[in-house]
Symmetry: C2
Subunit: 296 residues, 2 copies
Amino acid sequence: MGVRAALIGGDWGTSNLRVFRFGADGAVLERREAATGVLAVADGGFEAALAGLIGDWLADGPVPILLCGMVGSKQGWVEAPYAACPAGLADVAARIEPVACGLGDVRIVPGLAATLPDGRRDVMRGEETQIFGVASGDGLVITPGTHSKWARYEAGRVVGFETFMTGELFAVLKAHSILSRLMRGDAPDPAAFELGVRRALDDPALSRLLFSVRTEGLFEQIAPEALAAYLSGLLIGAEVGAATRSADATNAVVIASPAIAALYQSALAIAGVGGCRIVDGEAAAAAGLWRLAHPT
Amino acid sequence: MGVRAALIGGDWGTSNLRVFRFGADGAVLERREAATGVLAVADGGFEAALAGLIGDWLADGPVPILLCGMVGSKQGWVEAPYAACPAGLADVAARIEPVACGLGDVRIVPGLAATLPDGRRDVMRGEETQIFGVASGDGLVITPGTHSKWARYEAGRVVGFETFMTGELFAVLKAHSILSRLMRGDAPDPAAFELGVRRALDDPALSRLLFSVRTEGLFEQIAPEALAAYLSGLLIGAEVGAATRSADATNAVVIASPAIAALYQSALAIAGVGGCRIVDGEAAAAAGLWRLAHPT
């Protein structure tokens, strides 16, 4: 039945479960995806949900399974306590948490916790695996998304990071606020996106800028079809503006799907930051899972 | 049946309709309130909704009726086009829009529109009436709420203003985002509120600060019962910080309910801005309706 797998990796987040079957050299032989994210799985249902997606991959005998993401949170399968920054690959690998279950050798990657200068904490789960999958030289690694992370990677360790609620703000404002009233769809619109980015770079007061999504629609300065792109520009512009004011983002690595990565690349360019490198989020997660399973 | 009314005033917003029956000297003889806000009234249903609340006030004969708020928007009863800033009481009064209906002399106060230096527009409906109800000397007038307005009042005119989506952000984040997961209730908590205000004054990057509502709960730095107050502090702090960086808010007038006004007074004090004067929002609306009906 083909090559025997050396590892099964899983990126098990809030909304989705993505699995990878690796050959002995770390190449991804096959991938699958299901909408059985952590929020969709009832307590006690994690083993069955995973078996449902990869049961046939285990038919020829046991294969080690390594999972990352919210599956290791309090709401997940088994809690894998955060590793504290600064943390390198070996530090995280040493804290991988075993899961007692009928699927054999199943383990969960811990998330990372950081303490900011003012005492605030910050956390990630899943992004650490993507970062270890791609990071090589020192610099910033950005993982845009529901909760965008900007991590500083130095000498093989994540030394700190901070989270922006960009994607979630976009989603809740688009679904539940007055800003959605005049919006039609959410197709890309580079001009409206750029206008939003520029305004947010000029004025860091996001809660003041946001109302302009309504007024630019009311006064027909921006077409209904372009208002979502304008809102996206304001939010990503606010994120890029704040993050690049406090750190040099030249040559940052952006880990995301191509569409999202292009928006960040554009916003970084508008902010005058050059040289960013784009890595696909799924490829990063797969590479990170393989590396964490083979830390030495 | 008591004193014959000289005017019936109505503040008809998105969620509520508040009406005032005025005596000949402008004193409020009686007030009533209903949850028949503009969003709850179907097209063609405005006359019946108003008659249902004040029909008996018209039993002795016609009384002029003046309405302000979202009732004059496109989604309202009759659209009363915005007056452009700078605009004084007489400018607004001159643009009051008559309504053809069976209740006699019914008219609607227009909202105000402003153009910001970068070309963005801003709008208000209802707050202009509150501002004309209370403003006297030059200075800032703040109307906290779903969409907080900061208006500059000079020489009897509203010369400009800007809107912060503070109240709506609080509502959508509390109802629909991950920040609500660890929250329990929304009781006041002065210490958590102040911490939020101070952090937002120190860091204008709101979308970065917001995630700390989750992490401060996760790491049990802030009790679940105090997280809503902390979120409120972050949002009001971001508003006060941005607004006071661009204008001198000393001796500002804050038009709001006592509970909300106290939060803004506290945030202004933390920001080092003294001397603010608090006026109850309902009293301000009533006074403004009376003045707009008697502009000379």
